[in-house]
């Protein structure tokens, strides 16, 4: 069992596919070819959609947006390891994972364009809406998974969050309650080294974030977050354990935020080009690509087709999102309560009246 063996206190970090494309074949997860292809497609789609979102923001076509570049392995790898009934409580930067879980890309764009309709995922999509207050999804997701257990449903909740979020009060509550009630939860900490301008080392004096699990009575494991095989394998194991009733796991995926914190940020104010360059060499997509190459799956043509397909999907999604009419004014009012109370009705009327004039 990876999770028992890779003790963060012993400085162990799980890696299966290294920076140079070497595979630890003992640990190599068995993934069917069609899934390997799917995974790669999602990685490429995520990156292209991400670049598009960034570009759209610069053109004033969407609002503030948090780029995911660098997170492709951790997002796609973890989401792929989940089962049909499982739920994702994502962090705002999680577009890739959300896509794998079935959130339509046009809705994601719509949301970042500032339209609440982008947050009404289709029925059957097991994804919680993005929670902006950092870390607040951790305790909420814990409660959600607790309910699965109480209802005796076989469903795991995967909650993702950043290194900064480990300082949040909801991290403490989420993990403490999960430990006590042995909830079927996977806590996925995406340690991308930065919380806006605050480096990981100033977020906590803990040597690893994985070891924080020790204070809550369950296992933590550190994994190379740019190695999609490792992320996939460890998430799968954590999901299986949760499903078997063995309780929660904390996974710390060590990765890097290649872009600015959001489109409103300028990371050059607080970190060096050198650091970014170093991480460029660990690119998760390039690494997986070389793995697919060694499996005779990847070739130039495959790449071209994959990119083309992704670009088309992205263009289509942008078109769809931009074609969406502005929300109906009543929509801002009518979902506050199940039934609209008198005072909100009055306020809506007052607004309508003012717009008439």
């Amino acid at each position: 069992m990876l999770i028992d063996e890779y003790d963060p206190l012993k400085n162990k970090r799980l890696q299966i596919l290294d920076e140079n494309g070497n595979v630890n074949s003992e640990l190599e997860p068995k993934i069917e070819k069609k899934d390997l292809i799917e995974i790669y497609k999602y990685m490429v789609l995520s990156r292209i959609a991400d670049e598009k979102a960034f570009a759209l923001q610069r053109e004033g076509r969407i609002g503030t947006y948090p780029p995911l570049k660098g997170h492709e392995a951790v997002q796609i790898g973890s989401a792929f390891a989940m089962n049909k009934n499982d739920w994702l409580f994502p962090v705002y930067r999680d577009m890739g994972a959300m896509l794998v879980m079935g959130v339509p890309l046009d809705l994601i764009f719509l949301y970042w364009m500032g339209n609440e309709n982008g947050c009404r995922f289709p029925e059957g999509t097991n994804v919680f809406p993005i929670a902006i207050p950092v870390g607040s999804q951790i305790s909420l997701g814990m409660g959600f998974s607790w309910a699965s257990k109480l209802k005796k449903e076989k469903a795991v909740t995967l909650i993702s969050f950043g290194d900064g979020a480990t300082s949040a009060i909801d991290f403490h509550d989420g993990l403490n309650f999960a430990g006590v009630f042995k909830t079927p939860t996977v806590f996925l900490c995406i340690n991308n080294q930065w919380a806006i301008s605050v480096p990981r080392t100033k977020q906590s004096a803990s040597k690893t974030l994985a070891q924080k699990a020790i204070g809550y009575g369950f296992n933590g494991i550190q994994v190379d977050g740019n190695d999609i095989l490792a992320v996939y394998a460890v998430t799968k194991e954590a999901v299986d354990r949760a499903n078997k009733g063995d309780g929660p796991t904390l996974i710390e995926a060590v990765t890097y935020r290649m872009g600015d914190h959001t489109t409103a940020d300028d990371a050059s104010r607080y970190r060096s080009e050198k650091e970014i360059d170093e991480w460029r060499g660990k690119d998760p997509i390039a690494r997986f690509k070389s793995y697919l190459g060694s499996k005779q799956i990847w070739n130039k043509n495959f790449e071209k087709e994959t990119r083309k397909e992704a670009e088309d999907l992205v263009d289509e999604a942008v078109k769809k999102a931009e074609a969406e009419p502005p929300p109906d004014i009543e929509d801002f009012f009518k979902y506050t309560y199940a039934e609209m109370p008198w005072h909100i009705k009055e306020e809506l009327e007052e607004l309508k009246e003012s717009l008439k004039e």
Binding site: A147, D173, H343
Partner: protein
């Protein structure tokens, strides 16, 4: 029918709803083995087991986040916060998520959740055990705030709260938990949220109050009668959303109004009620609408508590100011 006090009525409502609907879950500090520090949940663990009556770690933020996650996942949690003074820990999840999930997801995800909190002063408890900070909640769009003042209302309102599709903060006037006994129906019943109770009709002045203040105002009414002042008493029952119609109709009739609450005066719910009356019934007013409330200070410890809680004398003084305006 059987005679019960308020705390017993809480217990009865919980028990009935748990029997009726197995999605109803009770959780909080000491609610299980101990039956709650006020015994509101006594007997529930024995009857429903520890999958439905859950003692939690000591974190109000965790309790409410956990309950909210449960509600999103199809359960109907009823969380207990031991005292109103510990309720500030839950504001983040209430404001940021419980009150907004329905709107955020345009109706897809909802938060049918009840949070029970004993509130108010008058039992000589330590600091932070005597607060009435309901206005923190009444200003949050998307949640409801309910306060019973009698055993019968308690059972009916709590039942409605548990069945309500929105998040309900259910504030229990702990000072009168055991002070009033009343015949209440054995069978289940609901009392609609959003509707005030006309406690007593009267013609000279409308007094608007809730919770433990209702009894005090009833005493005031008796005193006032001796001086030929005929009070109409409205027990709000639901603090948010307000029952505008009952308030305005009454004030239009009496032409005078007084709000009585335990919370500090400034930015308390009383202010909203005065503003509402001013907006909807200014021309009916023969005098300013006044407020007799807790003062804008920390609730004093035992030796000073009685200065803080609106007393019969202070309320009478307020009444007379209005009448003699």
């Amino acid at each position: 029918m059987a005679v019960h006090n308020i705390i017993e009525s809480v217990n009865l409502a919980l028990k009935e709803e748990m029997k009726r609907d197995d999605r109803v879950i009770v959780l909080g500090e000491d609610v299980g083995v101990n039956g709650g520090v006020f015994r509101a949940t006594i007997g529930l663990l024995e009857e429903f087991g520890d999958n439905r009556v859950i003692d939690t770690p000591l974190s109000e933020n965790g309790i409410v986040a956990g309950a909210l996650g449960m509600a999103v996942n199809g359960l109907r949690p009823v969380a207990e916060i031991q005292f109103m003074g510990f309720v500030y820990y839950i504001l983040n999840h209430i404001i940021c998520h419980a009150a907004r999930l329905r709107n955020r997801t345009r109706g897809r995800i909802t938060a049918p959740l009840v949070i029970r909190v004993p509130y108010g002063a008058g039992i000589r408890a330590p600091e932070h055990h005597s607060e009435s900070t309901e206005a923190l909640f009444t200003q949050i769009p998307g949640i409801k705030v309910v306060v019973p003042s009698t055993p019968k209302d308690t059972k009916g309102l709590l039942t409605s709260a548990i069945r309500d599709p929105d998040t309900v903060i259910f504030l229990e006037p702990k000072r009168i938990y055991r002070a009033i006994k009343e015949d209440i129906p054995e069978e289940e019943y609901t009392i609609p949220l959003g509707k005030a109770r006309m406690v007593k009709e009267g013609k000279d002045i409308t007094v608007i109050c809730w919770g433990a203040m209702v009894r005090v105002v009833e005493t005031v009414s008796e005193e006032a009668e001796k001086e030929n002042i005929d009070i109409e008493i409205i027990d709000l029952r639901t603090l948010s959303p307000l029952d505008k119609d009952t308030i305005i109709t009454s004030v239009e009739k009496t032409g005078r109004a007084l709000v009585v609450h335990e919370a500090p005066k400034t930015c308390g719910l009383g202010a909203e009620i005065v503003a509402l009356i001013n907006e909807k019934a200014l021309l009916s007013l023969n005098a300013p609408v006044l407020r007799v409330t807790g003062q804008d200070i920390a609730v004093p410890l035992a030796k000073g508590e009685d200065y803080y809680i609106p007393s019969v004398d202070r309320i009478l003084q307020g009444l007379k100011k209005i009448i003699n305006f």
